[in-house]
Each structure stands twice: as C-alpha cells, then as structure tokens.
Amino acid sequence: MTDDNSDDTARTDGTGIVPPDDETPTWRERKERTTGLSRLTYEYFERSRREDQDLREESDYVERDVLAFPVWPHELIRNLALTSFFVGMIFFLSATLPPHLGAPANPSQTPAVILPDWYLYWSFGLLKLGPLNPDLAIIGGDKLLADRTYGVLANVVVVGFIAIVPFLNKGSARRPVEQPFWAAIGVMGVVFAVFISALSIKNLVPMDPHLLFDLTFLVPPLAGGMAYAILKTMREGYMYDLNRRYYKLRPPK
C-alpha cells in the first residue's frame, strides 16, 4: 500500500455505510424504527455489499512484493517430504499387514451369497428395473429393449441427472432452508438411493419383493414432498433469526 491515501484506507469491519445526516443511529434507534423482516434483510444485504466493495477497493493483489514461492527449492522440498511420508506409509502398511490373497475364483462353485460391494448396490438395483420396461403393443407385446439394456440405460439416466444438477441449479445457497426445492430434490435422491439399494438385495430383505419395488418409487417423492413442506415452513423464521443474529453480533457504530 502506498502512504498517501492512508486516510481513505477502506474499512473492512462493515461500518462503511454512511447515513445521510452523518449520524449513525444507535442499535436502539434502529430497532425502534424497524419495519420488520424486509427492512432487516435490506440492511443485511446492503452491509454485505459494502463490505465486498471495500475489500475489492483495498485489494493489494497487484502491488504485493511476493506473489508466490519458487518451485525450487521451496515447493519441491515440501512435496518431496510429503511424498516420502506417504510412500513410507505404504511400505510400512504392506510390511506389517500381510496381503490377503484368496484362492482363485472357482467357476464350478458359486458362493451362497454373491453381491457387489455395498456402495454399488444402488447401481445393482437399477439393473433390476425389468418390471418398468414396458411391453409395447406396437411391436406385438415385446419389449423394445432387453431388460439388461434397460437397466444399463437407467444407470446412464441417473448418473447423467446428477452430472447436470450443477448446471440446473446455480444458486449460492449453503443451507437447505435457503432453497427448499433443491433440498427436497436432494432428499428424494438420498431416499431413492437407500431404497434402490435395498431392492438390489431383495432376495435377502425380509419383505415381499413386489412391495419393496413399489415402495422404491413411492417413498422417495413422498419424502421429497415432506422435506419441501417442512423447509418451506422453516424458511422465514430461520432467515429472520439468521439475519438478526448477524446484525446483533456486529451492531453499527
């Protein structure tokens, strides 16, 4: 920073709003003339905007003397130390824990319980959507796709949807109450994942498989709807509290 503008050094404590009469009202005065949530929210956003602006104005990014550390020796020494540590851990673990190498798979004998790893159950469940694959009258009651193709395409649809969510929802919300709709979509997805996982092991779940199949598609929208209703109800009170707490902790001078 240069010295000639030290008087104008931006304040970053959020107190840069200057009222027209040069007199900042006290907290009590402010509270007395408040008009409720809308006023509070406006002030909250105004303060945030001002803080951001101050920070930007006083940014010394260009003027810094040191922009970064050189790769050699600083960065490389640090990276080598970290690498050596983790390589050492790998050697240590492989030396202390003898590897489990089972007998090769016997194609003539299949274990009584044979399943993918648990974290792939959802995908395994998506392969069992045969009942959703319609028998089309137009091709003589046959299925357009084999059940296995259908199951693979179901995986593509689910993974594809998850992949495009960041492009559909570009909000900056960080709490479910701030975006009840997308939070509800998330709840629906999680509940669906749980149920589709249970469906994938339907032969082991002590429940009628047809009932389980129906629940897999009925419960998630229900849970999503409930989550939406609850979050929507919570939202106003929650945001009010949030704003008030923020405001109280840092009252204007």
Partner: protein, 277 residues
C-alpha cells in the same frame, strides 16, 4: 489467410501424402488382422444347436439349462452319457465329432459349450477318464458326501426326503461333477431323483417325454449346473424359498429360477471347443 501457418508447398504436400497413406495402410492392415482373428474358427464344434433343458420360469436367464442324459451301470453307479465319437471330414480335415441320435433329438456335446465350459478338458472327446458322476464338497445339501461316485442307493429315500425348502417328497437333489478327474475345471452337474419325474414319464406323452425316456433312468435326471444368464453355478433344486423357488432350481446370483419338471426344447449358438484342449 492467417500468416501463422507456413505456405502450402509441393514438398509439404508430398510429406503429408506419405504420412497419410502410411497411416491409412497401417489402420487397414490392423483391421484386416482383427477381422481375421475374430472370424477365423479356432476350435471344433460350435454354432447353432438344439437341446432339451429345464425351463427358465423366472428371473433374467435367457433360456433353459441343458440336461445331461444319464444311465446306471450294473453295480448301480450313476454315469452321464457322452455322445459317440465319430471321425468326420470337415473342410478337408478329419475332425472328431461327438454326436448321436438320442430320444428323438441329435444329442451333441455342443449343448454344453457356453459360459466357458467349452474350454474344460472334460468336454473334449480326448478326455481320458470315466463318465461317472462324483459328489463335490461345499454342496448346498447336508446329506451328501463330499466325494466318491454317486450310487442309486444314496437316493433310496427320494420319495420322503425333505429339507427347509419345498414340499417333502418332490425329489432328492445332489450336486456333483462329470468328467472332471484330474482336470483344471470341474463340469458342475445337478442330479435329482424324483417320483414326479417318474409319474410324468408314465402319464404324459410328447417329444419331451420321448427325450426323458431316453435320457433319464429310475427317476434320475441330470442337469448341467451352469446358469445361462451369467454363468453362475446355481445353488440348486430346493435351495431357497425366494419367489416360489422352493420346489424349483434357484440361482442365487440374480434370482433366476428353473423348473426341473418342465422340459423344453431350445436353440442357442454354442461356442467352439479349443482344438488342443
């Protein structure tokens, strides 16, 4: 025109031509080699074949599991029937073919050439062992021994035998191997003795019954225990109550169910056997 790129010159076109034609020639040679490797028959047998098997009644399996014809010897030991081995001229070469007429159908070893079984040494005509069924360890069924040849006397109580699944007396199952001594892989088979089968042969008629008369004996039937879906060895007859499988053959991998008393004729494309197995 951007001046970033060099002028097109005769020399440059020449170099491009040489590189391009070399690339095209390389790709062409590689694809011809690939097509050749894929389409060149490298084994014996294979191709479309028609067989009798136990019907797939539920689950994702595409077709029936093939039956293995069986017979008993004078001492009462059970053994499978391997088709007669003949020498045949095929495309100017003499090859061994295992094929015979049995119960109104051409019984050939191609029936079992799927799911990798086509590579088992036991399936080769040159296999030098006997045809007896032998028990295996790790079976679904507590009653059966873990080794030794299967004998008719082991199944004496087949009309009353019961376990946790299905009704008592619908059949006594065992699991074993066929033509698998001193080989790398066992050919898994399921043996069932049942009065249901005997009654069916006595009361019904049709091409499936003709086949059963030739391929079964004293209520015994044998099935190649390889699921036609993804090649698991099914846990077997009367091994689960899931989806009404109590009185059927159940595959634990993807819940395919086969009805051993519903014999159907099916067709599929068999893999060839490797010739020097």
């Amino acid at each position: 025109m951007s001046d970033k790129y060099p002028e097109s010159s005769g020399r440059r076109r020449f170099v491009k031509g040489v590189v391009g034609s070399a690339a095209v020639a390389g790709v062409g040679t590689a694809s011809i080699a690939a097509v050749d490797a894929i389409t060149n028959p490298t084994g014996a047998g294979g191709g479309s074949t028609q067989y009798f098997g136990v019907e797939n009644t539920a689950g994702p399996a595409p077709r029936a599991m093939p039956m293995v014809p069986l017979e008993t010897d004078e001492e009462g030991y059970l053994r499978g029937v391997y088709p007669e081995i003949k020498e045949e001229e095929q495309a100017g070469q003499t090859v061994q073919v295992a094929r015979e007429e049995l119960g109104g159908i051409t019984y050939e070893i191609d029936w079992f050439q799927y799911c990798g079984v086509q590579e088992y040494q036991g399936l080769q005509p040159s296999y030098d062992g006997d045809n007896y069924f032998r028990y295996t360890g790790g079976s679904t069924y507590d009653w059966q021994p873990s080794s030794g040849r299967m004998h008719v006397d082991d199944f004496d109580d087949y009309e009353s035998w019961a376990n946790d699944y299905g009704e008592a007396g619908i059949g006594k199952p065992a699991k074993g191997t066929w033509r698998s001594q001193d080989t790398d892989n066992n050919i898994p088979v399921q043996i069932i003795r049942s009065s249901v089968l005997e009654d069916k042969i006595a009361e019904e008629s049709g091409e499936a019954i003709d086949w059963l008369e030739a391929a079964t004996e004293d209520g015994f039937m044998a099935i190649l225990n390889k699921c036609t879906h993804f090649c698991c060895a099914p846990s077997g007859f009367r091994s689960s109550n899931y989806g009404g499988a109590g009185d059927k053959i159940y595959c634990q991998c993807h819940q395919s169910i086969y009805d051993p008393y519903s014999i159907v004729k099916r067709r599929f494309v068999a893999f060839p056997r490797p010739e020097d197995g």
